[in-house]
Symmetry: C2
Subunit: 197 residues, 2 copies
């Protein structure tokens, strides 16, 4: 009876979506299992029929998202595009992630430090390192091929780009104001006209 376009999300997935939104809004530690249960219209204990713990919930939220995102980065890195195009594509893919997976991005940005203190979430630090390598690789390739200014401090530039792109999750609201494509256009313009030689 359900529309073919949306394959009837399981109750699990519904609960994960609710949890993701709350984690993003209030932070992981700041969100109680009762908050999640209330939003879902059930009692807090009933969550433990679906999930082992609050931690396993955020696990299931973050891991598939990161797999997709870094898959896209890898694709860009492996492509034949010139350095400038690669950098542009990486920025656009990131803004697309903010549009389509805002809660996941917000959780990763806001709670990675705290979650990282548990061994279970060691992969978050790995992903952070991987992200750094992606951007640094792109910047260095840009400098090497003469697309970017040769006097750029690569580390500072990396931080500049990373911060500028990801922090947008704090204010970007899908459907309001600019589309993510428009925002990406503006940001690329400001960024590259300052960086390109």
């Amino acid at each position: 009876m359900s529309a073919a376009s949306t394959p009837e999300p399981s109750r699990r997935d519904e609960l994960l979506a609710i949890a993701a939104r709350l984690f993003a809004e209030k932070g992981f530690k700041n969100t109680t299992v009762r908050d999640i249960a209330d939003a879902a219209g059930i009692l807090s204990g009933s969550l433990y029929h679906h999930f082992d713990s609050k931690e396993s919930m955020v696990d299931e939220i973050l891991i598939p998202f990161q797999d997709r995102l870094f898959g896209q980065y890898d694709e860009i890195l492996a492509s034949d595009d010139d350095a400038r195009t690669k950098l542009e594509r990486a920025v656009r893919v990131s803004f697309e992630a903010i549009e389509q997976h805002g809660p996941e991005v917000a959780i990763f940005q806001n709670d990675a430090d705290y979650l990282g203190t548990f061994e279970r979430f060691g992969y978050l630090a790995d992903r952070n390192t991987q992200s750094r390598q992606v951007w640094v690789t792109l910047i260095e390739e840009g400098v090497r091929t003469g697309v970017l200014r040769p006097d750029l401090d690569v580390t500072l530039t990396y931080r500049f780009i990373r911060d500028t792109v990801w922090v947008a999750v704090r204010w970007y609201q899908p459907g309001k104001g600019h589309t993510h494509t428009e925002v990406a256009d503006q940001y690329v313009r400001i960024l590259l006209d300052g960086i390109s030689s």
Copy 2:
């Protein structure tokens, strides 16, 4: 017996500095009064000899800091400098704040949303509005006087600058790597070469 240069901080001030560091590291709600007391070498109850509540502690941390910072912004706005210089000065003052009052900046960046849900912290939203007005005024003056590109989306540019400047508090560590002046130089360079006509 104390050096004349440092006028012997009161116990109150010592405790506030400890609390500020912990609030910045772990977040306001995530920091317990026992955390603060442990770091100070006393019992949690003893904190209530000095302060009314945990909330009043963060109050005393944020208010004087914001008074100083916005005083500096006002001074820049009222100056005779051209728009480009004003914008540069505002960026530099902000990085200086990150250097000298890192914990305060971090708390304002990370916890303003949460704290803002209490009537007591309504002034945080006011300060946010005020900050927006400062940057928008500077950008609009830049566009009007021809120092900045006329096709800039003022709101997006404001967010771009604000995010780029303040998010640096997440990684900047005084005494390690670049000085705040060097970081400001690089950021101004990237920013303005993308913005200036």
